[in-house]
């Protein structure tokens, strides 16, 4: 009777009650998929993993020149490139995570139609990949801060928490869009487009202090705005807009709830529709 604990009932509409247990049992797969994506990305490249460093560095340089030199925006007494990089860290994490995870179910269609595992593992693993990039880019930030001789305050200890926050936001939107992409491939075009606009509507290349007071409620509907504020507070000590933080927290929670519940409701159809 040792098998009793292993009883599995398959019925229509009754998704397994042990869903979380299933995810836990497949935790290694989560890591393996992330590991695969990281390995594959740098196969047959000459400079390999250094690409993780080049992307934020080059983007930082361009944004610094465009916003800091040409548009001549001010960043107070902090070097402009540091302001840009602190904005880029969460932005890259969010945008890479969202775009990769939105596509993830479709690109892994062969897995979905041949093997069972909680489908959530696929978009979640891509967030993990972006998280690794995020951690690596933090080293770039550390180097840059040492270069400018700027010491962070104790706030910097909250950086891991903020990282998890961005990850959760990307997971929420990623779950929603990945499930939508299975049925409607339009989202393969919509998501990159939204993210392209997002880099301008988010305070990546500039500081939120430039946003006029009356536009703030509208502006902070973009959760990245609040999150970037939080990053600049943790790293550079700039005072954030509490309105922005609260708004971003609410929107993150909403994204997680909506993404998760839509994903769960659509999950059983994936293999048939993909």
């Amino acid at each position: 009777m040792s098998l009793d604990k292993n009883i599995l009932v398959i019925e229509n509409g009754v998704s397994s009650k042990a869903y979380w247990g299933d995810i836990w049992r497949h935790r290694e797969l989560l890591l393996f998929l992330a590991w695969r994506d990281i390995l594959v990305r740098y196969k047959q490249t000459v400079i390999g993993v250094s690409w993780v460093l080049f992307r934020p560095l080059l983007t930082m340089a361009v944004l610094t020149v465009v916003f800091g030199r040409i548009a001549n925006l001010s960043s107070g007494d902090i070097p402009y490139s540091l302001v840009v990089l602190t904005g880029l860290l969460p932005w890259f994490f969010f945008s890479n995570g969202t775009s990769e995870s939105s596509n993830s179910l479709v690109t892994n269609a062969n897995l979905l139609s041949k093997v069972y595992f909680p489908r959530m593992i696929v978009p979640a693993s891509t967030i993990l990949v972006s998280a690794v990039d995020f951690v690596v880019s933090i080293f770039v930030l550390i180097l840059l801060m040492m270069w400018y001789g700027i010491l962070p305050t104790w706030h910097v200890l909250l950086l891991p928490v903020l990282g998890v926050w961005v990850g959760l936001l990307a997971l929420g939107t990623g779950l929603l869009f990945s499930a939508l992409t299975v049925s409607y491939r339009d989202f393969r075009h919509i998501v990159p487009f939204m993210l392209m606009l997002g880099i301008y509507t988010s305070p990546v290349g500039y500081s939120t202090s430039l946003i006029p007071e009356k536009w703030a409620p509208l502006y902070y509907l973009n959760p990245i705005a609040g999150i970037v504020d939080a990053f600049r507070w943790a790293i550079l000590g700039q005072v954030p807009s509490s309105y922005g933080i609260i708004s971003a927290l609410i929107i993150t929670t909403a994204a997680l709830v909506v993404g998760f519940s839509y994903f769960r409701s659509a999950e059983s159809r994936f293999a048939d529709e993909i």
């Binding site: 098998l3 009793d4 292993n6 009883i7 599995l8 009932v9 398959i10 019925e11 229509n12 509409g13 497949h26 290694e28 797969l29 393996f32 590991w35 695969r36 390995l39 594959v40 196969k43 047959q44 892994n108 062969n110 897995l111 979905l112 139609s113 041949k114 093997v115 069972y116 595992f117 409607y184 491939r185 339009d186 989202f187 919509i190 059983s268 293999a271 048939d272």
Partner: protein, 442 residues
């Protein structure tokens, strides 16, 4: 028999798909989804008529129970619902109705090498694939050497699999699957991979795997594989269970249905090269042409079905239209139902060489062929010594005959009622002799 606990219970399982005959109506893009409510009702009605939605039942009220440690084959033609059933049992897709209860850890092998990535090395893919199949990292690590050894690609284990030959690729892929260790194993037709030697290795490993009290569900089109591996078979047709019982019973029902649905393709007692289209080698030979061929009994009645105790006569008519510089030899290649050669037969003398019509016949004596289905390839060859030869004509599977066995035609069965394996059942000479006690001592 009641004592065996059930490991899989399937009750009234059904799965339907909606198929739209006019694909335009299904809102597959967001634009269609968003604009569909605004379409004018008249157009809507017109289009609705054009596009009929049809519910297609891939599985219909399928019920069966499988006891612990039983090995079950699932057989049936294409579209019978075999894969759908496997997909439901392995939780890839949900049933529309009905219920399945499974006791034990399930592994399903619907494909070998699921998730293999071409850029990753053999070593990396073993771990990835193992994890996808539900193995733990430590489990894969422990079995790693066995897996590599089994696959026979040790030398290339750190080469990206995109550089592998397709044979190496499948061998590695199968090898990972071969070391799964579940309570219930669900296998789709994945055994037919690699070369002959590797296939035999796979089949042996499958038997080992399925031997240890494991419940196995196995889909295959090869009746030989089914018979060698499973005790019971579930025969599905159009999504419904036609038969669930002994392998012989289900297999014969399945083979019968193939014969009846496709107008009895197997039996062909007569062959006319101008009418029947079969695979042929050698065209428009100027020396010899085939006129016709047939299989008949001792009274020259053309037949395609013979009793095992009967003499089968194969007759070939041909024309020599030009004297050939080399000797011409007719020969018959007899193969089993699945195309594996059983024997090739040549006459002792070669054919007369003068221009004219000729008939050559060959008698297959009783009890040479086992009960079963056989095809005959007709060949006319010239041999030039060593490995050089020429086919004047050759028609593959030109004749298809069946050898049947009723009751106790074969005295040598000694009452055994089951199947006697093998392509041939020759009556070999046997001798008894008694050993004398004094002789055994020295």
């Amino acid at each position: 028999m009641k004592s065996k606990p059930l490991s899989i219970e399937v009750d009234d399982l059904s799965k339907s798909y909606v198929i739209t005959h006019n694909a335009r109506r299904q809102p597959r893009t967001l634009r269609e989804l968003l604009t569909s409510p605004f379409k004018r009702p008249v157009i809507e009605a017109e289009m609705a008529e054009e596009s009929k939605k049809e519910t297609f039942w891939a599985l219909k009220d399928v019920s069966f129970n499988i006891g612990e440690g039983e090995r079950i084959a699932i057989i049936g033609g294409n579209g019978a619902g075999k894969s759908t059933l496997l997909k439901i049992l392995s939780r890839i897709t949900e049933p529309t109705k009905g219920k399945v209860t499974i006791r034990g850890r399930v592994s399903s092998l619907l494909e070998v090498g699921t998730g293999f990535h071409p850029e990753l090395t053999g070593r990396e893919n073993i771990f990835l694939n193992g994890s996808i199949l539900g193995m733990r990292r430590s489990e894969v690590a422990a079995k790693f050497d066995q897996i590599v050894d089994f696959s026979g690609v040790e030398k290339f284990i750190d080469t990206p699999v995109k550089h592998y030959s397709s044979g190496m690729y499948v061998r590695l892929a199968f090898s990972v699957s071969a070391w799964l260790d579940p309570d219930i194993l669900i296998v789709d037709e994945v055994l037919s991979v690699g070369d002959q030697a590797f296939q035999r290795k796979c089949a042996e490993r499958m038997k080992e795997l399925t031997g240890a009290g494991r419940t196995v569900l196995f889909v295959s089109h090869s009746m030989a594989a089914v018979k060698s591996m499973c005790e019971k078979a579930l025969y599905l047709q159009h999504g419904e269970v036609r038969s669930f019982g002994s392998v012989e019973e289900a297999a014969s029902k399945y083979l019968q249905s193939i014969d009846s649905s496709s107008g009895d393709v197997w039996h062909k007692g007569k062959f006319d090269p101008l009418v029947d289209h079969v695979t042929q080698y050698g065209f428009d030979d100027s020396f010899v042409q085939c006129i016709s061929a047939y299989a008949c009994d001792e009274h020259n009645t053309v037949r395609s079905s013979f009793s095992i105790g009967e003499r089968v006569r194969l007759v070939l008519k041909y024309r020599i239209s030009q004297e050939s510089p080399s000797n011409i030899v007719p020969n018959f290649h007899v193969s089993d139902e699945f195309g594996s050669p059983v024997f090739v037969s040549y006459p002792e003398e070669f054919s007369p060489n003068e221009i004219g019509l000729y008939t050559v016949q060959c008698n297959i004596y009783p009890f040479l062929l086992n009960a079963g289905k056989y095809s005959v390839m007709l060949v006319m060859s010239s041999f030039y010594g060593g490995l050089e030869y020429r086919h004047h004509f050759s028609y593959e599977a030109a004749l298809r005959i069946e050898i049947t066995e009723e009751g106790s035609v074969d005295k040598r069965r000694h009452g055994w009622a089951g199947i006697i394996p093998g392509a041939v059942r020759p009556r070999l000479e046997w001798h008894y002799s008694q050993e004398l006690a004094s002789e055994t001592e020295t």
